[in-house]
């Protein structure tokens, strides 16, 4: 009789084990659509030791040995770099693609304004003292100057817009970092039970992915179960249960644009970061890479063009006989495009346009030909073409990198999903298997009960 009672006791334990298996399958099914969820599996095993009854060992049923979470560590180890790389390349490509101020077909763009300016000078060469044509040439110069300023402002505004985007992303980073550190604490506490807290681990994994994509931080796991997040530019965003935060401050060495800083956990003096990855790194790369280069090239173009025109203009005299002063104002190379303007005196009085050689009559166009010749000598169209091609190449390079990184990430994400994702078909089978096993154990209980009843009826 004692053996029959033992069977009932074992069956009770077995029911609990199969119930846990069914619950796990149900949990998986309920999270089939949850992003970052890794399927879990209840591991059942025969209870040991078995009874030795002289002729052999009688088993003691089944018990839940643990609930594991499916993660392929080989794939997981490659994902942070892929996530950060893809987010960086995509953010850079999208930021550059959004800039249209250098499109050759842009109405009122620099390319057309340069051509119109020289066209107006050429038209004036037929009759250099013609007041209407002189006014047209000076207006064309003013339009060209506006185009320079507009292009430079477009690039500057694009860089500032990136700063705004950068600032908007920081709260998400800091919030996620704080929650990540808190999850480290929760996981440390839960793991002390000896069983892995699977759902907490998944939650931390999701935050890790998010932070990696935003900052390019790389995870470093410790034997204690903590995961630290180290930023590419040095410094820990999360160290165990302590989270640092990111802040921005104007950088005087970079035209007052924002520099990203790391604020230590609990506050303290922020320190500059050497570099960033992820989406923030991509934005910074677009801002301080291709866009900054385009701005510098535009400044150089404005300076060289303005200098060539000014030199030619200074060699002549206007219809009023006055020596040609500067034609354009632009200052030093740095910021020349943004300051580019027609000399106010010339703008107010087109008679000052120095088209004649000194001492020649007003209708002389000898110096005008010098101005026209700068189109070949200074070759502003060539420099603009080179600028446009360089910016286009940087955009295309970023887009190509983004495609490559996206393909790599896509591949790894598929492998992760294949290893960790929930298959509804699979879980339905698991659920049915657990249900059948549960029913079988129920049958064991019923039969054992009947056997007990038979035994009791013998009396």
């Amino acid at each position: 009789m004692s053996n029959l009672l033992a069977i009932l006791a074992q069956a009770s334990g077995s029911l609990a084990a199969h119930s846990a298996a069914a619950a796990t399958a149900g949990h998986n099914l309920q999270n089939a659509g949850t992003a970052g969820y890794a399927r879990q599996r209840a591991t059942l095993g025969a209870v040991t030791p078995a009874y030795f009854v002289g002729a052999g060992w009688i088993g003691r049923g089944v018990a839940l040995q643990g609930i594991t979470r499916a993660r392929d560590q080989f794939v997981e180890a490659q994902l942070p770099a892929a996530l950060g790389g893809e987010a960086k390349a995509r953010a850079e490509a999208e930021a550059l693609r959004a800039v249209h101020v250098l499109d050759p077909g842009l109405p009122g763009g620099l390319s057309g304004s340069i051509a119109d300016f020289y066209g107006s000078l050429r038209a004036l060469s037929a009759s250099p003292s013609d007041g209407v044509l002189r006014g047209g040439a000076v207006r064309a110069a003013d339009t060209l100057a506006r185009s320079f300023r507009s292009a430079a402002a477009g690039i500057r505004d694009a860089r500032k817009a990136i700063d705004a985007d950068l600032q908007a992303r920081l709260p998400a980073v800091n919030d996620a970092a704080a929650r990540f550190a808190d999850l480290n604490r929760q996981i440390r506490a839960a793991a002390s039970t000896g069983a892995p807290p699977n759902d907490l681990l998944d939650a931390r994994q999701r935050l890790q992915d998010e932070l990696v994509a935003l900052t390019g931080a790389q995870p470093v796991a410790e034997a204690s179960g903590d995961v630290h997040l180290l930023l590419p530019g040095g410094g820990a965003l999360v160290s165990g249960t302590a989270a640092a935060s990111l802040a921005v401050a104007p950088d005087p060495a970079n035209a007052g644009l924002l520099a990203v800083q790391l604020v230590p956990p609990g506050g303290g003096a922020p320190r500059p970061l050497g570099g960033m990855g992820g989406a923030i790194g991509g934005l910074l790369s677009a801002r301080d890479g291709a866009l900054a280069d385009a701005g510098r090239r535009l400044d150089r173009l404005a300076y060289d063009f303005g200098s060539a025109l000014d030199a030619a203009h200074a060699a002549g005299v206007g219809t009023d006989g006055a020596p040609g002063g500067p034609m354009f104002q632009f200052g030093a190379v740095d910021g020349a495009a943004l300051r580019f303007a027609v000399d106010p005196a010339l703008l107010a009085d087109p008679a000052r346009l120095a088209t004649a050689a000194p001492g020649a009559p007003a209708g002389d166009g000898a110096n005008l030909l010098r101005l026209v010749a700068t189109e070949t000598g200074a070759d502003p169209a060539g420099a603009l073409g080179s600028l446009t091609a360089a910016f286009g190449a940087a955009t295309a390079r970023a887009e190509s990198a983004a495609e490559h990184e996206a393909a790599l990430l896509d591949h790894l994400s598929t492998l992760r999903e294949s290893a960790s994702g929930v298959s509804v078909d699979e879980e339905l089978v698991e659920l049915t298997r657990a249900q059948r096993a549960y029913e079988a154990v129920g049958k064991v209980i019923r039969v054992t009960d009947e056997m007990l009843q038979s035994l009791l009826e013998l009396r």
């Binding site: 089939a32 550059l96 693609r97 249209h100 250098l102 499109d103 050759p104 077909g105 390319s111 057309g112 340069i114 051509a115 020289y118 066209g119 050429r122 038209a123 060469s125 037929a126 009759s127 250099p128 003292s129 013609d130 209407v132 004649a356 020649a360 009559p361 007003a362 209708g363 002389d364 166009g365 000898a366 030909l369 026209v372 010749a373 189109e375 070949t376 169209a381 603009l384 073409g385 446009t388 091609a389 360089a390 910016f391 286009g392 940087a394 955009t395 295309a396 887009e399 598929t414 492998l415 999903e417 294949s418 290893a419 994702g421 929930v422 298959s423 509804v424 699979e426 339905l428 089978v429």
Partner: protein, 293 residues
């Protein structure tokens, strides 16, 4: 490899999105005919587009200026043709009236005709092209000849660009052709002297003007020949600029415009691909053990 439900959904989403992006892009290219717009679409082409558009505009403005200068020179040539005719008539009168058989009345009538010819020549030389005097040289704002016939136009030439970095003088040189600058004959002075000699019934003086008028005619013919040469240069420059402009335009079109047939094919293909992606996605969603339970 295990295939999960999320993989099926994500894969379907990804393939339909990619197909839709491709179809949208193909529709844009087919609809606008433009293959590239942003510098990143084709960086090498974009550098060429900037240079090509600049060249297109440059050659177009060269063509316009050359055409304008040619028209001006053609008008100047026509004016010099009239002047030449009138000077030739004066020369004929001089040859005719130098003969001793003509009396004072005949020579006085000749003097009147020569005065009229002088007025005609002056009027022709004061002709304008637009707002400027044709024969003003580089002083085109004032009449080239004063009331007393003195040349007051500019001695310098006006030049226009006829090819990148190449310039051509386009102002007729009335100082040389009419006023005899550089050691030639002052045609108007010779005509005035003829009129005076006729009025004075001085046959010898009339005879003395024949050579000067002949030399003047040669000067005018030489200037017309020079103008003719410039017109030819400007015409060929205009034709060359037109060709270069069209070449630059074709180059830009080649770099930016889509091949119509290729664009239409891509549109059809991409739409087919989108239909296939949508069909595959809907089919893959339908197959699940969930429906059999």
């Amino acid at each position: 490899m295990r295939v999960t439900d999320r993989m099926i959904f994500d894969g379907a989403l990804r393939s339909t999105l990619q197909a839709r992006v491709r179809a949208d892009r193909a529709a844009l290219v087919a609809g606008t005919g433009v293959r590239v717009a942003h510098p990143g679409d084709d960086p090498a082409a974009m550098g060429g587009v900037v240079a090509g558009r600049s060249a297109e505009a440059r050659f177009e403005s060269i063509r316009k200026v050359a055409d304008g200068a040619r028209d001006e020179l053609v008008q100047a040539d026509a004016a010099l043709g009239s002047v030449s005719t009138m000077v030739r008539r004066a020369e004929q009168l001089a040859i005719q009236l130098a003969n001793g058989s003509y009396d004072a009345d005949a020579r006085a009538a000749g003097a009147h005709e020569v005065e009229a010819l002088i007025a005609g020549v002056t009027a022709a030389l004061d002709g304008k092209y637009g707002d400027r005097y044709l024969f003003g040289g580089n002083t085109p704002d004032v009449p080239p000849f004063a009331a007393d016939g003195t040349f007051q136009g500019g001695a310098g030439a006006r030049s226009v660009e006829i090819a990148p970095g190449v310039f051509e003088d386009v102002a007729p040189d009335a100082g040389r052709a009419i006023a005899g600058a550089g050691g030639g004959t002052d045609v108007l002075a010779a005509m005035r002297a003829l009129a005076a000699a006729l009025a004075a019934n001085d046959g010898d003086a009339v005879q003395g003007q024949i050579a000067g008028l002949g030399a003047g005619l040669k000067q005018i013919a030489a200037e017309r020949a020079r103008i003719g040469g410039s017109v030819a240069v400007l015409e060929s420059a205009s034709a060359a600029a037109l060709e270069a402009r069209d070449g630059a335009k074709a180059q830009v079109a080649g770099l930016t415009e889509a091949d119509v047939v290729a664009a239409a094919s891509e549109l059809a293909l991409s739409q087919r691909a989108l239909e296939a992606a949508l069909a595959a996605a809907s089919e893959s969603f339908r197959l699940s053990l969930l429906d059999k339970f």
